[in-house]
């Protein structure tokens, strides 16, 4: 039937096709519409026509039982002692096996003696006593050394026909094998030499052929496993530098690792020495104990406890004199803790223990020094105050105002009640405006001002003070309100449309209202009669006028810009 030539729509891989069974379609149509075209099999073209393949393909295409391609069979070996050859038993691990041992690593000695070696060895061992006999294992080891040495020293032995003399070999043997094999090795060397020459100075064991000479090798089907040409990468300076850096880093790291290993090694060596010492001490003690029991001496058992414990005890006693009692308390449990362990514990720990104790003491000493320094500074400032008594220091922005003076003088902690009320308690302030606050009783640690003061000082709790300003005005200065104020809904609302955020706020403090003019006026020295209260507070000299920033009674965030 001539095929109707219908122009077919193109069939792409995305074309959706209906799936039908053969019985769902008219058989005549099915037959006529089948495309008889060559199907790519992927088999070499001249093999596609092979008789058995075609028979098998035809059988799968038709409905017949599939035909098989004949092949030389494999059969169970009958004349081999499988169990003897494969004697190891395998136990399936519970988890998936993960292994990276290579063949060389699990096959032991790389030389396997063959029947020729066996003949020689049996002849050699003949008539020798059992102790003098050379075992097969040792024989293989010796030959392995010979072969390895040949490969390392004369890689081109097969070409230039050099044979390594026994002198070189014996050095290697000495290095790698027990010395008793050296004498036998000389005999084996003779045998090895014979075999080597018989094999054309190649390896005695039959090996694969690798590439030697490119022209010959390409045609030789025995030459296998050639190296692939390495893909060339573009060379750039950056890449070179990168590689150099990487190599340097690698080298450095390796060097470090090496040192680490060397140090670890020396540590372990010392540990061992220490162990031995401790053991000998123990032995000596044991002897002493035995002697004591024998002689009936009682008491003085201190000797049996490790010496180190006592030593650390006395040290602590000495140092303890310098320490505050509560510190000593914490120190005492330590020797008690260590005492029972000393006899048994590892030397490694014993170095650590006293070191640890020393460290603690050192820090305490430093603290003590610090205390002394602080005390001295306090004394000095007191002295300064005494000197300045009755004087008014009018230095503008003193570099380092003496403690107890300055803007924060006279602040008192505000209790919650008053904080909300915004009214200072009148009872105290009515008597003296600048009453010494509780904070002043224990002066804050003194600090020098080096550069600009910190923007926000840590203040424990909100404080306020009341004072009389110029012209008898009543001022209330407060501080430490920052957090409370920041959270204030109204305040944030006030800055809502301001681009500058909280960080910029200190800048605002310096804004128009506290201009230099204000500041300047505030620092103009006043005649003494302007200070009516001055006469009353004799022991507390006034600081120069508080900065305008402090004086703002209802500033949103009131941190004095002046130094502490």
């Amino acid at each position: 039937m001539p095929p109707r030539h219908v122009r077919q729509r193109k069939l792409t891989k995305a074309t959706l096709q209906q799936v039908l069974r053969e019985d769902q379609i008219e058989s005549a149509e099915y037959d006529s519409n089948q495309s008889h075209q060559h199907v790519e099999t992927g088999v070499e073209r001249h093999e596609e026509n092979e008789y058995h393949l075609q028979a098998a393909l035809a059988s799968t295409g038709g409905g017949k039982a599939s035909e098989e391609i004949p092949a030389p069979p494999a059969e169970k070996t009958v004349d081999i002692n499988y169990d003897a050859l494969y004697s190891l038993r395998f136990k399936k691990p519970a988890t998936y096996i993960r292994v990276s041992h290579t063949v060389e690593e699990v096959t032991g000695c790389q030389y396997d003696m063959d029947s020729e070696d066996d003949t020689w060895l049996q002849a050699y061992n003949q008539g020798k006593s059992a102790s003098q006999k050379l075992s097969e294992d040792d024989f293989e080891k010796i030959i392995e050394v010979f072969e390895d040495t040949t490969e390392n020293h004369t890689p081109f032995a097969a070409v230039d026909n050099t044979l390594i003399p026994f002198e070189t070999m014996s050095a290697q043997i000495k290095l790698r094998l027990p010395s008793k094999l050296l004498d036998i090795a000389e005999h084996v060397y003779g045998h090895w030499k014979d075999r080597k020459q018989a094999s054309g100075n190649k390896s005695i064991q039959p090996g694969l052929k690798f590439e030697i000479n490119k022209d010959d090798d390409d045609a030789d089907p025995y030459v296998c496993f050639r190296r692939r040409e390495v893909r060339q990468t573009r060379k750039t300076r950056a890449r070179d530098v990168q590689s150099v850096d990487k190599l340097k880093k690698l080298r450095k790291e390796l060097e470090e690792a090496r040192q680490l290993v060397a140090l670890t090694h020396s540590r372990e060596v010392q540990k061992q020495a220490m162990m031995l010492n401790e053991k000998s001490i123990f032995d000596q003690r044991y002897k002493v104990k035995v002697a004591k029991t024998k002689l009936g001496i009682k008491g003085d058992d201190e000797d049996f406890i490790n010496q180190k414990v006592r030593r650390s005890n006395t040290r602590i006693e000495i140092i303890a004199d310098l320490q505050q009692p509560q510190k000593r308390k914490s120190e005492f449990p330590q020797p008690q803790r260590t005492a029972p362990g000393t006899q048994l514990r590892l030397p490694g720990r014993s170095d650590g223990r006293p070191l640890e104790a020393d460290l603690i003491l050192l820090s305490e000493r430093l603290a003590e020094k610090e205390n002394m320094l602080q005390k001295e500074i306090e004394e000095k400032t007191q002295q300064h105050r005494r000197w300045n008594q009755g004087h008014v220091d009018l230095t503008r922005d003193p570099l380092s105002p003496a403690n107890g003076q300055g803007p924060e003088t006279g602040f008192r902690p505000a209790t919650a009640q008053y904080q909300y009320l915004m009214t200072p308690p009148s009872s105290v302030t009515s008597e003296s405006f600048d009453h010494p606050s509780p904070a002043q009783e224990k002066p804050e640690s003194f600090a020098f001002r080096y550069s600009s003061p910190p923007e926000e000082e840590p203040r424990g709790q909100p404080a306020y003070r009341r004072r009389i300003g110029r012209g008898g005005r009543l001022w209330i200065d407060r501080r430490g309100m920052s957090s409370a104020m920041k959270n204030d809904e109204n305040v944030s609302d006030r800055w809502k449309y301001d681009q500058d955020d909280e960080e910029e706020q200190p800048v605002y403090e310096m804004d128009p209202h506290d201009t230099n003019a204000l500041r300047f006026r505030a620092t103009i020295p006043f005649p003494p009669h302007f200070y009516p209260q001055h006469g009353r507070q004799e022991n507390r000299p006034r600081a120069p006028g508080p900065t305008p920033a402090n004086s703002r009674a209802i500033a949103p965030v009131q941190n004095p810009a002046a130094p502490p």
Partner: protein, 507 residues
């Protein structure tokens, strides 16, 4: 070999004449008894044995694995023998360079006919271009051999024009290196290699599968192998140490795959060898089998040994290059001795052509037991995890083609029946992505099964009844005896990642 049957297509017709046992020489085409009848065979080698002269014969349209040593009694000297063509000058030139100098007598004898064989290959290629396999199926069915020649000859006459330019190009190639490239570009992978030069060129740039047409490698060099508890009869040449050719029996350690020509050495090795499973990470385990992943670079010795072993059963496997750029997925069965190698497939670490399998082999003692199917399924399961569509590297062997066809068919039929029941439409692409196959493989399978038809203006897929029946039969059988399948949930595997440095420095 395909093209030896018709002498029509070859440029120089072969001389025919009667031969005797003494005059029959290498390269002759003679009629030899095989499977109950005489078949044309090429004599590849001759040896003297105690029982007389023997000839190594390759039979027409028979796979090389069926080549054998034949005593003179099986050769029909009544019929005429085709003598090898006299050496042409250009072929002499070709042969002179590559063939290495050999010392033994047998090899010397092989050296001379090299050129002639190439001549026959060239003629083969000329023929091989033309016949369509569907046509030749019929000719095979009816007349597997001689009778079919007429038909083919007719066709060949018609298509000779198409075939001859290739011969011309072949001539030019000897002089011009650039011509090689041009030919290569024109020809498909499946084409038989044209010359040694091109063959080697192909080896240098190609993947793991190729046909190494070297003369010696056409002849099986190892006759018998003792492997584990089995005796294997190798099918093809394998580049084991040359000295093993003289041994009657080669011993291979079942676990480390090391090879020995001497029983004493093998016994000594077994005494020391502690390997009990392939030296890699187990990535799959069920009640029957385990899969191990082995990196060719890290386990060079083992992987080389595996390649040598598999080369005995894979004609197209190349051992030209080292194993570094491949990963090997090895399937084993377990018993109290260890994990026994059943089969494996290798896979390029980075395949430019998107192949998910390079070589694939089930050892002969485990063939026809469904293990090949498991290997194929596993390779596709790995592709699914990678999220890629995969295809085996070409050329496939005859057995490889059958195994893959079977796997593809079974899986496609299963899905298509499902679509048919739901009365849903499907595209090749969807089928492909469902099975992690390339759309090309899906299409060629559908074509080979004659399932694609054009009907009422639409492309349709039709399931032939005999395939449906077979599928139902299989399903019925599986109820009583479940088929071994890979359970994807048991795969513990992540696609290995290689750094740029590893790729630059040859893995």
């Amino acid at each position: 070999m395909a093209g030896k049957e018709p002498a029509v297509g070859s440029p120089a017709p072969k001389q025919k004449g009667k031969a005797t046992i003494d005059t029959l020489k290498i390269g002759c085409l003679a009629m030899v008894m095989k499977e109950g009848r005489t078949r044309r065979a090429e004599v590849l080698s001759i040896k003297e044995t105690k029982s007389g002269r023997q000839f190594y014969c390759n039979f027409d349209n028979f796979n090389k694995r069926l080549d054998e040593w034949v005593p003179a009694a099986r050769i029909d000297f009544e019929q005429e023998v085709e003598w090898p063509n006299p050496e042409l000058p250009k072929e002499a030139k070709k042969a002179a360079a590559p063939v290495a100098k050999k010392t033994t007598v047998t090899k010397k004898s092989q050296k001379r006919p090299a050129a002639k064989r190439e001549a026959s290959i060239i003629s083969a290629s000329a023929d091989g271009e033309t016949p369509k396999w569907s046509d030749s199926i019929e000719s095979q069915k009816a007349t597997p051999d001689a009778e079919g020649e007429d038909k083919n000859a007719l066709k060949l006459e018609l298509e000779r024009d198409a075939a001859t330019p290739i011969d011309e190009e072949d001539d030019a190639m000897d002089d011009d290196e650039a011509a090689i490239k041009a030919i290569k570009a024109k020809k498909e992978l499946a084409d038989p290699p044209q010359s040694r030069a091109e063959e080697i060129e192909k080896l240098r740039v190609g993947g793991s599968m190729t046909q190494n047409q070297a003369d010696i490698s056409r002849i099986r060099n190892i006759s018998k192998v003792q492997f584990g508890n089995y005796t294997l009869y190798p099918w093809y040449f394998s580049p084991y140490p040359e000295s093993f050719t003289q041994e009657d029996l080669m011993y291979i350690c079942e676990f480390c795959l090391c090879y020995y020509g001497d029983l004493k050495a093998f016994t000594r090795h077994r005494h020391k060898c502690a390997m009990q499973h392939p030296p890699g990470n187990e990535i799959y385990r069920d009640d029957y089998v385990s899969f191990f992943e082995i990196d060719g670079r890290r386990q060079r010795t083992w992987c080389r040994n595996l390649c040598l072993l598999s080369r005995m059963f894979l004609d197209h496997k190349s051992t030209y290059h080292d194993v570094d750029p491949f990963l090997f997925y090895v399937m084993t069965t377990r018993d109290e001795k260890g994990c026994h190698l059943v089969g494996y497939f290798s896979k390029e670490k980075e395949s430019a052509d998107g192949f998910n399998v390079a070589c694939i082999l089930t050892l002969p003692q485990f063939q026809r037991k469904g293990y090949g199917r498991l290997l194929i399924q596993f390779s596709y399961e790995l592709s699914k995890i990678e999220g890629k569509l995969g295809s085996p590297e070409k050329p496939l062997s005859d057995l490889g083609l059958l195994s893959y066809r079977q796997y593809w068919t079974e899986n496609l039929i299963e899905i298509l029946l499902d679509f048919n029941e739901r009365e849903d439409k499907v595209s090749t692409e969807a089928l492909a992505s469902h099975l992690a196959m390339t759309p090309h493989d899906v299409e060629s399978t559908l074509q080979a099964l004659q399932m694609q038809i054009y009907h009422k203006g639409e492309h349709k897929i039709v399931l032939p009844m005999h395939l449906i029946k077979r599928h139902e039969m299989l399903k019925e059988k599986q109820k009583t005896k479940p088929k071994r399948m890979i359970d994807p949930a048991r795969i513990q595997w992540k696609p290995p990642v290689f750094t740029a440095a590893q790729r630059t420095w040859g893995w």
